[in-house]
């Protein structure tokens, strides 16, 4: 079921406004610690989740608010978790960088670069054996391509013929260092090293992402293989909340803002559509944020539960 651009836009806007709301919350001292926002990268989770099955397992990085929201996590729950409240997600245990929503088949963010990929491989093994057609997707950053665990997982996924999608969100930077200074070749050029199919896509266009991910998913299942997708995008905010971005070349941010997925969608939608969607999402997020601030901090008594589940 293909989403219209207006639908995609609405979803992307939800993510954008949640992230912006969190920036405000941070400035107001409502968030402890730092967060990693996905501003500029919204088209990737939105496009991908529009074609994944709702029960395809999902794993993201610390920059994963967009994936949680695109997978159906409500903004109030997510913002409450980021603010350390007793949220419906992880009750404040996870915070911004490590949250999960198991009921939404979102197995969570991961704060260790690349470390979600081996875990996704395991989920993929479980899906394959269940034989019910689910295919996990794991998203990482471009810089993560140089972690050993990613390498090991791609080779293992290939030789064991495990259907899985590795989404590489190439946002131009790893922290404060431009990607090309760290990685010998683009992510896509590594697919051949594992004999797996690889696709590139415009990560600022949710429809392009959707069609690439749909194709990747089909091939993963049909050929029983791991598939790599590299989505080109740009991080339009700092690496983390306090990042002053002194390392950016002059004019870069401005230039990159031109290909912002929201701006691009707005060009294609009518003024009316945009105005209407904006109005509804703005008030939606405002309400959700207000609701999140009403959620109390978790009770310390519970802090010792669930170290083990049995």
């Amino acid at each position: 079921m293909q989403l219209s651009l207006a639908d995609h836009y609405r979803e992307m806007l939800i993510i954008r406004l949640v992230e912006e709301q969190l920036m405000v919350a941070m400035t107001s001292g409502l968030v402890s610690g730092s967060t990693h926002l996905c501003i500029g990268q919204e088209a990737i989770p939105v496009g991908a989740c529009s074609v994944l099955r709702k029960d395809d397992p999902l794993i993201a990085t610390y920059r994963g608010h967009g994936w949680a929201l695109a997978r159906g996590v409500s903004p109030v729950d997510l913002m409450a978790e980021v603010m350390g409240r007793d949220s419906a997600l992880n009750g404040g245990r996870a915070g911004s960088a490590y949250l999960s929503a198991p009921l939404n088949h979102f197995y969570g963010e991961n704060s260790i670069v690349g470390a979600g990929v081996p875990v996704a491989l395991g989920l993929a093994i479980a899906c394959q054996r269940a034989g019910d057609g689910r295919v996990p997707l794991v998203s990482i950053g471009d810089g993560a391509m140089n972690q050993g665990n990613v390498h090991e997982s791609l080779n293992m996924g290939s030789v064991l013929e495990i259907p899985m999608i590795l989404m590489v969100e190439n946002n131009g930077y790893a922290e404060m260092t431009p990607s090309h200074a760290l990685t010998a070749v683009p992510a896509i050029a590594r697919a051949a090293a594992y004999d797996i199919p690889g696709f590139e896509t415009d990560g600022n266009d949710p429809i392009a992402v959707a069609s690439t991910v749909a194709k990747a998913r089909e091939i993963a299942l049909a050929q029983s293989t791991t598939v790599l997708v590299e989505a080109h995008t740009h991080r339009l905010a700092g690496h983390y909340s306090g990042d002053v971005q002194a390392y950016r070349p002059a004019g870069e941010l401005q230039e990159k803002h031109e290909s912002c997925p929201l701006a691009r969608a707005e060009e294609q939608l009518t003024q009316d559509e945009v105005t209407q969607i904006r109005a509804s999402v703005v008030s939606y997020i405002a309400h959700e944020f207000a609701a999140a601030t009403q959620i109390p901090a978790p009770s310390p008594e519970g802090a010792f539960d669930y170290v083990f589940s049995s």
Binding site: L103, Y107, P118, L123, A126, A130, N149, V159, Y306
Partner: protein
């Protein structure tokens, strides 16, 4: 219930094999994987015959421990019950992130919504000629990590029951087997479940000294005592079997009677789990702990030559002289 006399004598490695076999029958969601575990039957034979019997539920992987352990976590969260073999405990270090930062956290951070019913089987310790990179005993490191359960079985019966219980458990368990003990034999209560997670075993009772041990070191203690160490005194010997959780109440009860405590393990003494045992007792019993000592590796990497290894690893002689000295206090 069959009488004890009927139970078969099995080697330690065969007891491992049997526990895996029976568990694969009991738990349809269980899978077994690792390097050389399927077609080649396992580097030490732990998985012998399982491929033939259980087909693709038993499979070989590339030499990629991070991917293997991540695959264990992911498949466990996805509803399976993986048992993964890490060939030597020394190799855990190439993949420790998946244990410490991923596996150990999953239940806690998700408030029990993500479960990780998985077992990491590995074997550890020194055997003659093994190099420093294939000789370590590393259980203490994992006891320090919240969210992991850690067992160090020392007999065929224990490895059998501990493995079965660990596999049935919905939590991640690390089972440190012993390469040195693989050929040793003992009666195994086949079919009997002994799901005592964290329960130690009292090998012999006594009132003058408590000796706590586990893993390969247990044999040193038994040999020392059998050869008359502390003759005339009455010595209690406890095999912890698990170090996380560990049976502190049993040890406390014992030392509250004996007032003396010796802990013997093969791992490095410094910051080893023996320190946890002694300090827990010291905290609880105060000056009623009259004397204590730890015996372990003496602070060097393990050298390969037997002439050298003997000098730095725990020995029966070191156990015996510690027993003698402690009994003087």
């Amino acid at each position: 219930m069959s009488s004890v006399a009927d139970y078969p004598e099995l080697s330690y490695i065969r007891a491992v094999n049997l526990a895996l076999d029976e568990s694969l029958q009991t738990h349809p969601e269980m899978i077994v994987f690792g390097e050389d575990v399927a077609i080649p039957h396992g580097p030490f034979g732990a998985t012998k015959g399982l491929l033939a019997k259980f087909g693709d539920r038993v499979f070989d992987t590339p030499i990629s421990e991070s991917a293997m352990l991540g695959a264990a976590l992911g498949s466990a969260m996805g509803g399976m019950r993986p048992v993964v073999e890490i060939m030597y405990a020394d190799f855990l270090f190439v993949a420790m992130d998946q244990i410490v930062n991923q596996i150990a956290n999953s239940s806690y951070v998700s408030r029990g919504m993500l479960k990780a019913p998985l077992v990491i089987r590995t074997q550890q310790g020194h055997t003659p000629g093994a190099c420093a990179q294939h000789s370590q005993s590393v259980e203490a490191l994992f006891a320090h990590i919240p969210g992991l359960r850690v067992a160090v079985p020392s007999t065929p019966a224990d490895v059998y029951s501990i493995l079965k219980a660990s596999i049935a458990l919905d939590d991640p368990v690390m089972v440190f087997e012993s390469r040195k003990l693989y050929p040793t034999k003992g009666q195994v209560a086949v079919g009997q479940d002994d799901s005592g997670i964290g329960i130690a075993r009292t090998i012999q009772t006594g009132d003058d000294l408590t000796v706590v041990t586990w893993g390969t070191a247990r044999a040193l203690v038994e040999e020392s005592v059998a050869s008359g160490a502390g003759a005339g005194a009455s010595i209690e010997v406890i095999d912890l079997r698990w170090i996380s959780p560990w049976d502190s109440s049993r040890v406390l009860e014992s030392v509250s009677r004996t007032g003396r405590l010796l802990v013997v393990h093969e791992a490095n003494t410094n910051a080893g789990f023996g320190a946890e045992v002694v300090s827990t007792v010291a905290e609880e019993l105060g000056s009623r702990l009259r004397a204590s000592r730890r015996i372990g590796l003496l602070g060097t990497p393990v050298p390969s030559s037997p002439a050298l290894a003997q000098a730095v690893l725990p020995t029966v002689a070191r156990v015996t002289s510690a027993i003698t000295e402690l009994l003087k206090d």
